[in-house]
């Protein structure tokens, strides 16, 4: 490889990927997650709620971990209201028999402010009401459950593995990973190239190396910086999961994450997709003088449309739209991983996807190099679309 490409790649990587910033990011994530769980733990361990029940001797069955403590009383409502105002109790539950329908109760909850624990009380009151209705109807609780139960459907799948919700989450995670990589690539190229144009750095660099070597170095360095930043985020995510797991909220590893055979293919698709779009970002950034005023800036968000389309097709991973998207360069890096996890993919589809992706990269890299070579030297007036197309074709 041309040594100047390595020099540019190293420079661009460390220009945007700072170890110190990444470490600070991870530590901040960890601290905030630990603090978050600390707050949750503290909130869940807060003092019990004392609720005084007036007018009913029927037992209320509260959920197992409920903080509500029910207490019957002989005191008058006036006395209880005074206690409520003095904060000696947290609430008064008044249960009276409905005058028109004896199987129903009227329930009033008197509290100082809208309570957060009302759901537990609602559950308990619902259970009490159901029990009363069953008694009145002279049926057993089992008969009542049978009456409410939906028709069971036995589902038989022909594929060896069914897709769990966790696997679906992994597939979405893979797509999101690519979206973040693309967004980072967009911002790195935008800031990098238009910044260099605005700071008048380009001419000095181009006097030393060819524009193609420069863009190649940028593609390697900035793509690596984008992946490294997302990898840092993943490390942060894993550490946070560790905190969650330690707090007792962890879940098992999804089956799809144990399919190691897919990982080399996924790596190729992710890397290829990122380089493909980064070529595009480099070309567009080089023809923009000022991102705040240029109408061409909006073009940079074009790659997000097919990626979003990939997400929309998740419900039907093997539908026609998804089949096309998983083969087209630019969308294959998002659509193909989703299909690999959620659907059935033929070997030739994988081969076609990789072939089109790498041919696409080759063509786009050449065109981007030509546009970049002309665009970076052009200050002042932005080129017309006709100019850009002419550069891409003829150089």
């Amino acid at each position: 490889m041309n040594p100047s490409i390595c020099t540019v790649a190293r420079w661009e990587f460390f220009r945007f990927f700072k170890w110190r910033d990444q470490l600070i990011g991870i530590v901040s994530l960890l601290v905030s997650s630990v603090l978050g769980f600390g707050v949750v733990k503290f909130a869940s361990s807060s003092k019990a709620v004392e609720l005084v029940v007036v007018g009913s001797n029927q037992p209320l069955e509260l959920p197992e971990k409920s903080k509500i403590q029910l207490r019957p009383t002989t005191e008058t409502l006036e006395q209880l209201r005074t206690k409520l105002d003095q904060r000696s109790i947290d609430g008064i539950l008044v249960i009276t028999e409905n005058k028109t329908n004896s199987s129903e109760n009227d329930v009033e909850l008197i509290v100082r402010q809208q309570p957060r624990w009302v759901n537990d009380l609602q559950t308990a009151l619902n259970a009490q009401r159901t029990s009363r209705v069953i008694d009145k109807a002279s049926i057993t609780p089992e008969q009542f459950q049978q009456f409410l139960a939906p028709q069971a459907i036995k589902i038989t799948t022909t594929m060896p593995n069914t897709i769990s919700l966790a696997d679906r989450g992994v597939a979405i995670g893979m797509g999101s990973f690519m979206v973040i990589v693309n967004f980072l690539g967009l911002s790195f190229f935008m800031v990098g190239i238009t910044g260099e144009k605005q700071q008048r750095i380009t001419e000095q660099v181009v006097s030393a190396i060819s524009p193609q070597a420069w863009i190649d170095g940028k593609l390697i360095g900035l793509t690596a910086a984008a992946f490294a930043s997302v990898a840092t985020l993943l490390v942060g995510g894993i550490l946070i999961y560790g905190v969650v797991w330690l707090a007792g909220y962890g879940v098992g590893m999804p089956d799809s994450l144990t399919r190691w055979d897919l990982f080399p293919l996924l790596a190729l698709l992710f890397l290829g997709g990122a380089i493909f779009w980064n070529c595009f970002f480099a070309a567009v950034s080089s023809i923009i003088n000022d991102p705040n005023t240029s109408a061409k800036s909006s073009l940079l968000f074009l790659p997000m449309l097919p990626i979003a389309a990939g997400f929309l097709a998740i419900p039907q991973p093997d539908g026609n739209a998804m089949r096309v998207l998983s083969v087209l360069p630019g969308t294959s890096s998002t659509a193909m991983p989703i299909r690999l996890f959620l659907g059935e993919v033929a070997w030739w589809e994988i081969a076609a996807s990789l072939l089109f992706l790498f041919v696409g990269i080759y063509i786009l890299r050449l065109a981007a190099g030509r546009i970049f070579a002309a665009g970076i030297m052009l200050y002042g007036k932005e080129p017309s679309w006709l100019d850009v197309i002419r550069w891409a074709i003829r150089g």
Partner: protein, 320 residues
Amino acid sequence: MNKSQPLVSAEGVGKSFGSIRAVQRISFEVLPQQIFSLLGPNGAGKSTLVRMLIGMLPPDEGTFVWRNSSGATVPLDRAKIGYLPEDRGLYKDQPVAATLEYFAGLRGLNRTESKRVSQLWIERLGLTQYAKSKLETLSKGNQQKVQIASAVLHRPALLVLDEPFSGLDPINQELMVNLIREIRAEGTTVLLSAHQLNLIERLADHVMIIAKGQKVLSGTVEEICHGEHGGKTLRVEFEQPIAANLLTEIQAHGDVRGLLLEQPNLIAMQFGPNQKQLEWLNKLQQWGAIRTFQSSSTSLHEIYLRVANDGLPQKEPSDV
């Protein structure tokens, strides 16, 4: 090094942008270890010529011939060129040392060598205390020093400096002049484009003036100032402001090469090398009372103003 063989020769190079002919069939030679100055008004085609010379733009016509130290023709080697463009800048959010190491790397030096030469130049330019500072925190003069170091730290065979004095105060201009001399003394050929003609007069071994894309004058400062386009400048200060009809009458005489009204009562008249100023003084006395007069050799500045405005002269001193 064979100093009689040019380091680079331009042979009838030309470049057009659409219907605009930016550079028109220009030929010149730059000798090894020479300070070659390229002069011309804005838009004359200097930057286009420089960009063609260093391979950033292909010429539409003509060629550049590069020679090595033994005089053999060689292809252009970008690693042997240092370039400080007119439109220049640096990565403002990056440290000084890292920036210099990067540019050294781009010019083909390995990492160890890049670090060594960067450190060397940081010390040489008195920037040691700023080595780890971001460029945006440096003064403009110090930023300019880093800029020139980034162009020269790989010890190029040819250093091209486009407007190296712009934005510098007189003290830093003087520092730059000395630095250019030192760089030349170390064996580097310098091609310089600038508008500070007093500095060029002191620095340049050879001057080429271009205007409207054409070469209008070329030679050493001595040749230009004492050759056909040189001569004498007579400054005459009158007691009273000069009447407009007097200027018209002077201009009507073909033997006055140039006339400049420097103040309401002060004129500067340029004469060829063989023209008699005394006769003119006598004539002028008849038109108005003279307070003072002074005769001096015509400066490069005065010649530049005349030829750059008038366009092509009939002959060039170097051709005489």
